[in-house]
Symmetry: C2
Subunit: 212 residues, 2 copies
DNA sequence: CCTCCTAGATAGTGATACTGTCCACGTAGA
DNA sequence: TCTACGTGGACAGTATCACTATCTAGGAGG
């Protein structure tokens, strides 16, 4: 199919498709002649994936690039997922490294959770530390691990559920795609659901409360 | 304290403080003379809050404005929370209204969850619908509610936990602040923890898997 | 043959969140 | 009293991001 058809089928403007091609987010099509390139279903699918990650997950274009690079990772599917996790993780909120004790607390949380398969240099260790650091600067005490425990338990449940639910028949890249889409979509959905649930549950405690 | 001192104490540049004052995110200080304004602890605190919401929660300045406006809401604490939830909710990903059946599915999910205290016009109903719509356009089938059920249960747990843990001694605005910070901080933390947990749990199933 | 589309290069746009400059003035320390 | 530095206020400038538009030359297809 031609670029205009690809655009029609996906709803993505031609200019944007060209941009994604330039950025290497879409593989080049089959160049029949210097003036005519043929695109196929793989492009349609990839474009759909890119739009979901951008529109639903707010993944920056730079993250998409890292994801594309990650998809070339050799090794086990587990290795592939680990590299993809780094690609999806935002770059740590604060530039600075933060106090080492905050990083230690992040590591302690991960160890407490029993997640001993997490790489020592996972980006998310820094992310967790950076978040604790920023929050700690506001609330004087760096929010002790006990407060985080329920969230650790939830994350563990969530991850088990999602890993278990991956379609075992897919190939390497199919699994990656499913994992990545699941991660960003359900992160968004969960955040929205949580706000809805909070609105509901605040009723019992605060509907009558006119305080102040 | 003077503006330079406020800046030092919070680490926020003077120019940024001026910007926040212009935007109405910070209340004006006590204008002793036309050339000298006195700021106090309330400004320090507010600035800390704003920075957390921006740096950790990625709340846009516009959302912060909505939040400030929301904090003036009359009525019960429950009403206050509801308006704040709308302020924190991102404006729906897609501009268009989407198919009505998607909106119906969003409403059905909320009803199934038993969250009957959620306002009919909550922004998050639209957000949920918009997300379902976008995902549905990619994966042909609009992901049936059963797949979402576990997330509904999690969100419910999360919300109960958070509402129950609010410090009951605080005043109206203190409660709002705690609720809002908790919401954005734990949303971020949970997302990070989930990626970490997924990396760990993928080991058991995929460490040996070289597929493809 | 003529019109439309394409690839590829490059430049421009709009939104967001600051950041920098300028000025006249006033405050505080010497 | 003198003076250097800090201030409020207005406004312009900047950086980044994610596109979007324009232009050129040329080939495809009726």
């Amino acid at each position: 199919m031609r670029i205009s058809e690809l655009s029609e089928q996906t709803g993505v403007p031609v200019a944007t498709i060209k941009y994604y091609l330039r950025e290497g987010l879409l593989p080049e099509g089959d160049k029949r002649t210097p003036r005519l390139t043929e695109y196929d279903e793989r492009h349609v699918r990839r474009l759909g994936l890119l739009r979901i990650l951008r529109d639903v997950g707010d993944v920056p274009v730079d993250g998409l690039k890292r994801l594309v690079a990650a998809s070339e990772t050799r090794g086990s599917v587990h290795d592939l997922f680990a590299v993809a996790a780094d690609a999806l993780a935002p770059t740590p909120p604060a530039a600075g490294p933060g106090r080492p004790e905050t990083r230690a607390m992040a590591d302690a949380i991960i160890q407490q959770a029993g997640w001993d398969r997490v790489r020592e240099d996972s980006v998310d260790r820094d992310n967790l530390a950076a978040t604790l650091e920023l929050v700690g600067a506001f609330e004087t005490h760096p929010r002790d691990p006990a407060e985080i425990a329920p969230y650790v338990a939830m994350a563990d449940q969530l991850a088990r559920h999602e890993i278990a639910n991956l379609d075992g028949r897919k190939d390497r890249l199919g699994l990656l795609e499913e994992m990545v889409v699941g991660q960003v979509v359900f992160a968004t959905v969960l955040t929205t659901l949580r706000r809805l649930a909070e609105e509901h549950h605040s009723h019992e405690r605060f509907a009558e409360d006119q305080r102040d």
